[in-house]
Structures are given as structure tokens and as C-alpha cells.
């Protein structure tokens, strides 16, 4: 089964760009693997749903702010276990939540993965208000582990 790996976030807004950085490294390490497609986008809601069209299995990599975990803490869960609406780059105030958008798409018979087949790999971030391309040290330090987690998930389909 082919897997679509997507880095989410804003690449010029500090730690918010961590999803892109992980995805870019995953792309480098899976360049010869025809079963893996990697992309980096700044999308949410309907636009993200549209990007997932046709994918059977998806890995979303994103910054998360729970406020309860140390900076750089790695977590992973499937979309059906998304802790709450306000987690993940899954929505926009100008749009709708990713889960809602996926339901809209499914009701239109658009081929979309099940929520349980959407894995979210999240890295705890705090510094997302300052324009910079640099990651903070604890978030940068989490990169290898996050990349390993994504690669591992690809090997255990």
C-alpha cells in the first residue's frame, strides 16, 4: 500500500516549520521507495482534505502545542484519536476541521483514507510567533527521533 507523507506548517515561522524539516529528511531517505510519496504543504481543512484525495494511508507531521509536555516531545496517534479539535494543523478559522472536511469529502464519494489510516506525528512546540527559519534547540534535537518514527511507521504497514 502506498503511503503519502505530509509535512505541515509554516516553514518561516520557527518551530512551526518542524513538520517540513522532518518530511524533507524522510524524502531524502525514501527517494528510491516507490511506495512512499512525500510533500510539504501549509494547508488545513478542506484544502488538506483535497490533498489527501486518493491516498490510502497518510502520515501527517506537524507541530503541536499541548502546553503539558516539554518542548520537543514526540507523540503519535491516528486521526480518530486526535486529542481535540485544537490539536494539529487540521483546521482553519476560515475553513473547517480536517475531520469535518474528510467527512464532507467522503459524503461526496471522494476516495479518502479512513481516520484510523491517518497517522499524526506531532512535535511539541512553543516558539511559533517569530519569523525565522531556525528551529529551537530542543525541537531540532527531536528531528532524528521523529524521522525514525515516520520511517518505522512506513515499515510496519
Amino acid at each position: 500500500m502506498k503511503t503519502l507523507v505530509i509535512g505541515l506548517g509554516n516553514p518561516i515561522l520557527g518551530d512551526d516549520g518542524v513538520g517540513w524539516r522532518v518530511a524533507e529528511e524522510v524524502a531524502r531517505q525514501t527517494v528510491n521507495d516507490p511506495a512512499v510519496e512525500v510533500d510539504c504543504v501549509s494547508l488545513g481543512g478542506l484544502s488538506l482534505m483535497e490533498r489527501l484525495t486518493g491516498a490510502e494511508r497518510v502520515v501527517l507531521i506537524d507541530a503541536i502545542f499541548t502546553g503539558t509536555k516539554p518542548l520537543g516531545t514526540l507523540s503519535h496517534f491516528t486521526l480518530d484519536h486526535l486529542p481535540d479539535l485544537s490539536a494539529g494543523h487540521s483546521a482553519s478559522a476560515h475553513d473547517t476541521s480536517l475531520r469535518n472536511a474528510l467527512n464532507v469529502g467522503r459524503s461526496m464519494d471522494i476516495p479518502l483514507p479512513d481516520d484510523k489510516d491517518v497517522l499524526i506525528v506531532a512535535i511539541e512546540t512553543h516558539h511559533v510567533y517569530d519569523f525565522t527559519q531556525e528551529l529551537s534547540a530542543p525541537v531540532a534535537a527531536a528531528l532524528p527521533q521523529a524521522v525514525a518514527l515516520v520511517l518505522d511507521s512506513l515499515n510496519h504497514q
Binding site: N10, S42, S86, S92, A93, H94, D95, S97, N100, S107
Partner: protein, 489 residues
């Protein structure tokens, strides 16, 4: 006992927009404050970079309208290089922009603004979203919305090189043109978009305008402010999204001023309040008189409704008919009722679709003359476009090598900072009496937000899908005495 009420849209990453309502000793509203999170250091991030990178960088500021930032930046960079884009280049950019407008206005109407009307403002919050709209109106509507978005994205990709975040605008024009085959495809999609816009206006007519309760809500006093209105107009004073002069009309609807983009600093000043980092732009030559409306207050609005108020009409025939109908129904120009922004947005949707087809059938659109090589020494330049949410200004300064030395942006939401604050105050005034907070407050505030559609962070950040609000009523010591919640898990 003075009270403080905080309406707190709880968000994930970027902090959050926040509304503070202070009550006086009688328990009535004394003041309201609307605050949004500050994103820092954009100018510092840009300084030292080649200015031609700006159209790529600035479309990462905003996750909602990257195309608008791309276009404003492209025009500012043209101005920095003192280069005139050939007609075919201008038309290609405007074609891309028209298709983007169709996508953006569609999403706003069906996913955000429409649900309040289609399902009713009193419908359970969990149903007031696009899925609820589909359940109520039928699957067909959902399919059309998805199709409209797909076509809009496709045109952006064909001309802009990439979906959502276009990358083809450079100083003097574009990096590529379109083939006759692509032109045909774009034209076909545009013709479908016109039908879709007409379908949307009919749905608005059948569901909203024929319902007296909704019509009363639109024309009611709660969201009415008699301010100035701003919008870009073409040489005939018709609405234009991509190019032209900025025209401002007064509360009486008469032209107050019309100026070229590079004259904005002579016409717009920014007021600073100690309680928010977000500035309040106002008409410099009218002056800042506080958060009040009327001809003596320099507060202006920049939204779809503002553009229709500020122009003499629409440049396309079908949109002109709808323009006339809207103003006739609402009692003539200008329209001061903010909820009419939703209607104005649909009139603009039809205009954008018609313009799309006009440009796609323009004999010049496939011309290879879409770029002029800049030869002058770069200095300083201003680019203004109409973003879907309001007039968007980019102003760059460079050294003689074209390296950025200074940046100033005035974005849609900033223009509307004062009107949004005024609408919130008026809603609060009507729903808070003698310390009693009506449960409808959250909804009324949310409806005001939805009409203006503010970009909180104007960043690629995303907020939760439904705008979560939390109102905390506080006594004089800051102790919470009452909490109202919506959409908060």
C-alpha cells in the same frame, strides 16, 4: 462594581484572538477590546534578502490568502524596479487572481458565513458548518463546492506554477505564459464558475432573503456603523481586485478621495492604543476621533461590501444586475449593515467568475509577451491589491542592488480593526444589560467575526475549525463570576 468579560477563542498554537469587555458600575458595557496574537519579526526576516524573493516569502505569511500576498508583493516588486508589466502579463495575473477569488469566496460562504443563515443562527453549533449545510441543502451543493475549489486551484496551478502558493510572478511579469490548450481548459472552467456563482446567489435568495427573520437580522441595527468605505476601482470606477486606484467614499456614499497606491501614506495613518499591538489605520485627513462612526471619524472599512460601496458598479453585466438588486433591496448606497458583507461577497463571486471568462477569452492572454526585463535601479515601491478580506498594501524599500532594507504591510484585518471592535461593542451593548449577560452574546460576536472574516495571525497557522469562544465575566478584582463557552472541548 466594575466587571471585566473576556471572550477567549481558545486556539492551538498561535495564542488567540481575545475579546475583553469591561462593564461600568451599572453593569453596562463601558468598553470592548479586541486583541489578536502578534507575529514578530517579519520585517527583520525580510531585510537583507533580494526583493524578488518577496512574492514567495509573503505568501507564507498567510495560510488563507497566499495568492493575495503573492500578487501584492509582485506589484510592489514591479514598482521597486520601476518596470511596467506587459498587458498579457497583467491579464494572466488577474486571471489567476479571479480564479483564486472564486475559490476563497466560495469557501467562506459555504463553510463559514453561510451556515449561520442556511441552518439558522439558533441551530446547534455542532451543525453550523459545511457538513450541516450539505445535510440541509443536499449532497449536490457539496459536490459543487468541491468542484468550484478544484477549478480555482487548477487555474492557480496552471498560471502560478503551484496550487495555493503561486511562484511565477517576478519583477516585470511572469516566468511563463499559457498555451491555447490551457486557455481553452481555463475558459471552460470559468463558464462553469459563472453558473455556480448564479446558483449560489439563487440559494442566498431562496434561503436567506425570502426569510423575513434573516432579512431583519441583516438590516438590523446591531451591526450597523456609518463609516467610510475603501476599495480598488478601475478607470471607470468599477470594482477591480488586481489593479487600479484606491477609492474611498464617505458615510454619505460620495467620493471622499481617490489615490494611487504610492500615495497611501498621504492618506492613511495608523493610530496606536496601549492595549493592543495591532494598529488602527484611519483616514489621515479626516483624523482619529476614537472608536466612533460618522463623517468626522476617519475610521473606514475594507471588505467586499466596502468595495461595492466605494465603486460605481461592477465591470461585468451579470454582477452589475446583482449589484443593483442588492442596493435596491437594502435601501440604496452606501449599505452600512455589516451582515450584508455576505451578500456582497456573492456578488463579487459572480464578478470574479465573469472576469475569469473575459480574460480567458481575451485574444492577448496566450501572448508570449508576458514579461519585461527590468533595467532601472531598484529603489522603493508600493503594491496594492484587494485581498478577499480587504485592501492589501505591500511597501518595500531596497538598496541599489535590490536588497530589502525596509518593509511595511497593511493587511485586510488591520484595516478592519476599528470596525470589528465597534461591532463587538455594539453587539455587547445590546446583549449585556445591568450585569446580565445574554447567552446569545457569543453567537452575536461570532457572527460579527464571520462577516469580517478576520485573519487572526495572518500567518500560515491554523485555528480550530469552529471558532471556539470562551467568555469570562470578571468582577473588579478579576475573579471569574460567570463563564460562557462555545466550541471548547
Amino acid at each position: 462594581m466594575a466587571q471585566r468579560i473576556t471572550i477567549d477563542p481558545i486556539t492551538r498554537l498561535e495564542g488567540h484572538g481575545k475579546i475583553e469587555i469591561f462593564l461600568n458600575d451599572e453593569g453596562d458595557v463601558a468598553n470592548t477590546y479586541f486583541q489578536i496574537p502578534e507575529l514578530r519579526g517579519f520585517e527583520r526576516f525580510c531585510v537583507g534578502r533580494p526583493v524578488e524573493e518577496m512574492p514567495l516569502l509573503t505568501n507564507r505569511i498567510c495560510g488563507v490568502c497566499p495568492e493575495a500576498h503573492h500578487m501584492a508583493a509582485a506589484k510592489a516588486v514591479d514598482a521597486v524596479y520601476h518596470v511596467e508589466v506587459p498587458q498579457a502579463g497583467k491579464k494572466l495575473r488577474e486571471l489567476l487572481y479571479s480564479a483564486f477569488y472564486c475559490t476563497d469566496h466560495t469557501t467562506h460562504f459555504y463553510a463559514l458565513g453561510g451556515p449561520d443563515f442556511i441552518l439558522g443562527p439558533d441551530a446547534p453549533v455542532a451543525e453550523r458548518n459545511i457538513l450541516g449545510v450539505i445535510h440541509k441543502v443536499g449532497l449536490e451543493i457539496g459536490g459543487k463546492v468541491i468542484q468550484m475549489r478544484k477549478y480555482g486551484h487548477t487555474v492557480v496551478e496552471i498560471i502560478g506554477g503551484r496550487k495555493v502558493h503561486p511562484c511565477t510572478s517576478i519583477p516585470g511579469g511572469l516566468t511563463k505564459g499559457i498555451t491555447e490548450e490551457q486557455r481553452k481548459e481555463i475558459e471552460q472552467m470559468g463558464r462553469w464558475a459563472i453558473e455556480f456563482a448564479q446558483f449560489s446567489l439563487k440559494a442566498f435568495n431562496d434561503i436567506v432573503l425570502s426569510n423575513k427573520t434573516y432579512l431583519d437580522l441583516i438590516v438590523g441595527d446591531v451591526y450597523t456603523h456609518k463609516t467610510y468605505y475603501m476599495g480598488l476601482v478601475d478607470a471607470n470606477n468599477k470594482v477591480n481586485f488586481y489593479d487600479g486606484k484606491v477609492r474611498v467614499v464617505g458615510p454619505d456614499g460620495k467620493e471622499y478621495v481617490k489615490y494611487a497606491p504610492n500615495e497611501y501614506t498621504q492618506n492613511i495613518a495608523e493610530h496606536v492604543e496601549p492595549w493592543t499591538y495591532l494598529k488602527f489605520p484611519y483616514l489621515k485627513n479626516v483624523g482619529w476621533k476614537g472608536l466612533v462612526d460618522g463623517p468626522d471619524s476617519g475610521i473606514y472599512m475594507a471588505t467586499p461590501l466596502s468595495r461595492l460601496n466605494a465603486a460605481d458598479g461592477m465591470a461585468t453585466p451579470l454582477a452589475q444586475e446583482e449589484y443593483d438588486k442588492m442596493f435596491k433591496t437594502l435601501g440604496g448606497k452606501p449599505v452600512h449593515q455589516r451582515l450584508a458583507i455576505h451578500w456582497a461577497r456573492l456578488v463579487e463571486l459572480l464578478y470574479a467568475a465573469e472576469r475569469w471568462v473575459e480574460l480567458a477569452t481575451d485574444p492577448e492572454i496566450t501572448s508570449p509577451d508576458y514579461h519585461a526585463i527590468p533595467t532601472a535601479t531598484p529603489t522603493e515601491g508600493v503594491g496594492i491589491v484587494e485581498a478577499p478580506r480587504g485592501t492589501l498594501t505591500h511597501h518595500y524599500w531596497t538598496d541599489e542592488r535590490g536588497v530589502v532594507t525596509k518593509v511595511n504591510l497593511v493587511v485586510g484585518t488591520t484595516n478592519n480593526n476599528a470596525p470589528i471592535t465597534m461591532s463587538i461593542k455594539k453587539a455587547a451593548d445590546s446583549l449585556i444589560k445591568k450585569g446580565n449577560v445574554n447567552q446569545g452574546l457569543l453567537n452575536m460576536v461570532e457572527m460579527a467575526f464571520r462577516a469580517y472574516d478576520p485573519c487572526f495571525g495572518c500567518a500560515t497557522h491554523s485555528l480550530p475549525g469552529q471558532m471556539p469562544l470562551e467568555v469570562t465575566v470578571r468582577d473588579a478584582d478579576g475573579n471569574p463570576v460567570q463563564v460562557l463557552k462555545q466550541y471548547v472541548d
